[in-house]
Symmetry: C2
């Protein structure tokens, strides 16, 4: 199984509208990508803090999509890429860190 992780660095002075992200952008993303049969799950999180008490989280928000294969994700995402990427400025000016992962353990 493949996990696509989208991490929004907690840059000083940056803008991130968590409410729009959680109530508008992610539901739209999940509706569009979740329609593909290779879609296996999704998780969206808000960073609360770092390891040292009182420290800030490295990432203000994270999103993880699970798909059977990378090809499934690409097939699901490509038809909606322009719409979904075009919506990003509506909630943030942060350039996310995006990476593809192979899931080795999942419980």
């Amino acid at each position: 199984m493949i996990k696509i992780s989208i991490l929004y660095p907690n840059n000083p002075g940056s803008r991130f509208d968590l409410r729009y992200y959680v109530e508008t952008h992610m539901p739209m993303s999940i509706e569009l990508l979740g329609a593909h049969p290779g879609f296996k799950g999704v998780s969206v999180e808000q960073g609360l803090g770092g390891l040292i008490p009182g420290s800030e989280a490295a990432y203000v928000a994270m999103c993880h999509f699970l798909f059977d294969t990378l090809e499934d994700f690409i097939a699901a995402f490509t038809p909606h890429a322009a719409l979904l990427q075009g919506d990003i400025p509506n909630y943030t000016d942060i350039e996310p860190v995006i990476q593809f992962n192979e899931v080795l353990i999942s419980r």
Copy 2:
């Protein structure tokens, strides 16, 4: 629900023994932390690559623990902190990015 994310940056020249991590360190961690009633799940991943084809993943590996509350995680982890943290040099010289998250969407 709370997610504790442990991210190992893909630093040039760094050492990461994925086999030891997946076959020894993480099974031990899961056995110890998973015994707590607040434990809700875990995922371990290997970074495959970044968004640009052929680019390296920002993180060589990630681990995410799910607990009911942050207090549950601290209660589960503290008795085994010395053992688990002391095992890290057995698989890597990378200092992980650790952050606590609130799970807002999970499907």
